[in-house]
């Protein structure tokens, strides 16, 4: 009962935040990799609450178009995402699943996520795994909500390029 009230309290607080129009956007670079056999990477992006461990999936890019969902066979190569969320989810995830992307800079609109995200301490995770290639996991810690506009960034070394997380009050 107490738990339920806390949860309701959190929802209430989250709604207050959304009324204050918090905003969130992500920009992510997939580097051009010069190899004989290139496959677009599988990429997963998620938020994890430091206290509760709760995971909010932002996007999962994988091979959607293969017959018999064969593309799902490689989802587990995004090891941490698979462990934290993927293995307990039923694919495809509505509004989260997407096709693999070309090298270049991609932006991910997170306005909806910002609307419903409870205040707290979080980490943004971005994990990429490429067929016959490597795997890379990056994270950006942040507090939500923010009082002024902030851009946080990190940069990968192999499978991921620059990642920018824009947070606005």
């Amino acid at each position: 009962m107490i738990k339920k009230m806390t949860a309701m309290g959190l929802v209430g607080m989250a709604m207050t935040v959304s009324a204050q129009a918090g905003d969130m956007a992500l920009s992510l670079e997939l580097p051009r990799i010069d190899v004989a056999e290139y496959h677009r990477p599988y990429v997963a992006m998620w938020l994890q609450n430091d206290d509760s461990g709760d995971v909010t999936n932002l996007a999962v890019w994988y091979q959607l178009d293969k017959r018999d969902d064969k593309g799902e066979q490689w989802l587990k190569d995004m090891r941490q995402w698979w462990r934290r969320s993927g293995r307990s989810a039923s694919m495809p995830l509505d509004g989260v699943s997407g096709a693999t992307q070309q090298p270049g800079v991609h932006s991910v609109d997170l306005a909806k996520v910002a609307d419903s995200l409870a205040p707290g301490s979080y980490k943004l995770y971005v994990e990429a795994a490429r067929e016959v290639g490597g795997r890379e996991l990056l994270k950006i810690p942040f507090q939500w909500p923010v009082t002024s506009s902030t851009t946080l960034e990190t940069e990968g070394k192999t499978e991921l390029g620059k990642i920018l997380l824009n947070l606005a009050p």
Partner: protein
């Protein structure tokens, strides 16, 4: 003739892990964490000196079984036994954790006869019924030692969300009850396993964990641990890879006619990178 020969080889292979510093028996899955519908995993099974290098003998598959997340037995498909290894495939048609294992237990006796000759029971390759003990051991045997021994070898694979049904204990011999799920092991993290002997916590179990790839190192890099008073062992994984865990236990709390109780357990585990 052929059948009994096979049985002898199987028993020899099975009993080898009980002998210190002997060949090691293992079953190695090609993958332990699977995604997608109807995943397949292929396994190798062998007895070797170097862990996961097939350099000695194939393991016979007649004692090998697999059980699925619903508790039902799953068929080992495409079985093959070659010179140095056996292999088989498992189809993971249901979501959850599967266990591949081989287990046996029984009495063993050693004694000296009145004229000083050594006797032992059961004979090599024999798997007698428990009641035969009285008939086999002479009444006037000297220095009679009877042990109740068990051996168990296991490995685990998971499709999708891990489950725990296959961890149900048989309450017989030395068994491992995972506290940390064996398909949720990551480098730099600690895993805990509880060892049980005949269904009760086994205190002071000697555990040795050997990482894969010994051929390419100058030392085996073994991790040693001993179970605490709750039977629990903690292991911190130094790096990702495949590991072979071996546990040995012995005490004198055996049921009559046995005077000692010994258990041997081994498992193949995979640790993933962070």
């Amino acid at each position: 003739m052929k059948k009994s020969k096979l049985a002898i080889i199987a028993l020899l292979a099975c009993s080898l892990p009980l002998v210190a510093n002997a060949h090691r028996a293992w079953v190695l899955p090609a993958a332990t964490v699977l995604s997608g519908e109807n995943a397949w995993v292929t396994f190798d099974a062998a007895v070797s000196n170097d862990i996961f290098f097939t350099d000695h003998a194939a393991m016979r598959l007649n004692g090998m079984k697999a059980v699925g997340p619903d508790g039902n037995e799953v068929e080992l498909q495409n079985q093959h036994t070659g010179k140095y290894r056996s292999s088989f495939d498992l189809e993971l048609s249901k979501e959850g954790t599967y266990k591949v294992f081989s287990a046996s237990s029984g009495l063993r006796a050693r004694w000296e006869t009145e004229d000083g000759k050594r006797g032992f029971w059961p004979g090599r390759g024999e798997t007698p019924a428990p009641g035969e003990f009285k008939k086999a051991v002479p009444k006037n045997a000297k220095n009679l030692q009877v042990s109740q021994s068990s051996r168990r070898m296991e490995t685990f694979v998971t499709a999708g969300q891990p489950s725990k049904t296959v961890f149900a204990l048989q309450n017989q011999g030395l068994e491992m009850e995972p506290i940390t799920h064996p398909n949720d092991l990551f480098s730099g993290e600690k895993a805990q396993f509880r060892f049980m002997i005949d269904g009760k916590p086994a205190v002071g179990v000697d555990v040795t964990v050997i990482p894969d790839g010994g051929r390419y190192r100058n030392s085996p890099n073994e991790i040693k641990a001993t179970s605490d008073k709750k039977g629990v062992v903690s292991i911190e994984w130094p790096s990702a890879g495949r590991y072979w865990l071996e546990a040995e236990y012995q005490d004198d709390k055996a049921a009559k006619p046995a005077t000692t109780r010994q258990g041997s357990y081994s498992a193949t585990l995979e640790v993933l990178p962070q």
